[in-house]
């Protein structure tokens, strides 16, 4: 969190970091128990969490339908320091920062293979020629399976499609990020006024970068359940991106069995919020060859050792995490 808070100063770049708060809505007693536990876990780990009553929620967000017959709002878990960031600006800011520190960024250059000799990775073959390196670090999200396949590695990861949606521009209507807990729906409002929202994965392996209509319907139904005011809002655009869904819903930041080849991936659909911390821990691993304290559990061998980090307890079903 502090890495986000200092990001714009560190990079001298406006990434539109906006700590407008995030609210996870609660719809049942069981969910209140689960979210109370989540809130306690957050506080124990030094983050903030605040359990809000329906009355407070209604006062702060008067447009929410708290008495939906099927999914009444029974409360919420708020992290007031959470919020939104402009994702392009994060990529640009980091790229410029890295460039200024002497990193060479080679654009339009695809890694097409790894040069591996005697169990050691010596460099990468690319569409623009061979690049040698002492340490090779892979970090390609949805393309993880395809890339590591070039090193004859199979991963505990499936690639799935997740869709996102933007509405036409509206006056300010939504102060913060709100997630619907009974289905899967989350929403915030961009500075341009469009509502930015999404929901579940489509639920099948995909590299197509586009989804199908059943999920569009499901997401819009989630929206209507809590924001009946959105009924007349028009969808402006939607798209699908490829998620590196791991078998337990948690990421991997680790060395591979090939000397000199490292891997960071399996972030599922939570990889953006993790960007600074993920990079921080990966850099630590690359520099010291030992996992960072925060990433000690994110190892390849946790599956064979039975040490999965399966927060939802749904087992090896990547599409359900």
């Amino acid at each position: 969190m502090k890495l986000w808070e200092g990001l714009e100063q560190d990079l001298n770049y406006n990434a539109m970091v906006s700590q407008r708060g995030i609210l996870n809505l609660i719809h049942s007693d069981a969910q209140r128990d689960a979210f109370t536990r989540r809130g306690n876990a957050m506080i124990l780990n030094g983050a903030d969490a605040d359990l809000l009553s329906t009355e407070i929620i209604q006062k702060r967000y008067p447009f929410l339908n708290v008495s939906n017959a099927r999914f009444p709002i029974k409360g919420g878990l708020a992290q007031h320091r959470g919020g939104t960031v402009r994702h392009d600006a994060v990529a640009w800011g980091y790229a410029r920062g890295a460039d200024q520190m002497g990193v060479d960024i080679i654009q339009n250059c695809e890694v097409t293979g790894f040069r591996i000799k005697g169990g050691e990775c010596l460099g990468v073959e690319t569409s623009r020629g061979y690049v040698a390196g002492g340490k090779i670090a892979a970090c390609v999200a949805g393309s993880s399976g395809r890339l590591m396949g070039k090193a004859n590695m199979r991963l505990p990861i499936e690639s799935h499609v997740l869709q996102a949606f933007v509405s036409e521009g509206l006056k300010p209507v939504l102060p913060g990020v709100i997630t619907f807990g009974a289905g899967h729906f989350y929403c915030s409002q961009s500075d341009k006024g469009g509502l930015v929202f999404g929901g579940d994965l489509d639920g099948y392996n995909s590299y197509a970068q586009r989804g199908n209509l059943p999920v569009v319907e499901d997401v819009c139904e989630g929206a209507m359940a809590i924001f009946p005011m959105l009924g007349r809002v028009r969808l402006l655009r939607m798209w699908g991106g490829i998620m590196d869904m791991s078998m337990d819903g948690s990421p991997i930041i680790d060395r591979t069995h090939i000397e000199g080849l490292y891997f960071n991936g399996g972030w599922c659909y939570g990889g953006f919020k993790a960007t600074p911390a993920s990079g921080w821990c990966y850099a630590h691993l690359l520099a010291t060859d030992a996992p960072h304290e925060f990433a000690k559990a994110y190892r390849f061998d946790r599956f064979e050792k039975g040490l999965m980090i399966d927060e939802k307890g749904v087992g090896n079903n990547p599409q359900l995490h």
Partner: protein, 95 residues
């Protein structure tokens, strides 16, 4: 997506539950000497191809059959649909 069910004809994919890679038909023999390694591979490791993918779809809102669907993961085009029980029978896994 429309899945051409071998018994019921074309059905909306929304009637189905996706169950992942069809290799899950090939449950390893728990008595084989390297059963542990085989089960780790079976449960957790995936080819995850960009292109033709053999996968299991469960017709939960229909006749409850498991289907093996061969589908292009880059276009969502479906090449073939078989009953998983037929596939298992051809492999000699069931009588």
């Amino acid at each position: 997506m429309i899945i051409n069910h071998p018994l019921l004809g074309p059905r909306d994919s929304a009637e189905f539950t996706y169950m992942g890679d069809a290799k899950q038909i090939d449950r390893p023999d728990w008595q084989s000497p390297n059963a542990l390694a085989q089960f780790i591979d079976y449960a957790y490791m995936r080819d995850n191809p960009a292109g033709a993918h053999r996968e299991l779809w469960y017709h939960e809102q229909g006749d409850r059959s498991f289907l093996v669907v061969t589908r292009d993961t880059t276009t969502h085009e479906i090449f073939s649909v078989e009953l998983a029980s037929d596939v298992a029978r051809i492999q000699g896994r069931i009588a």
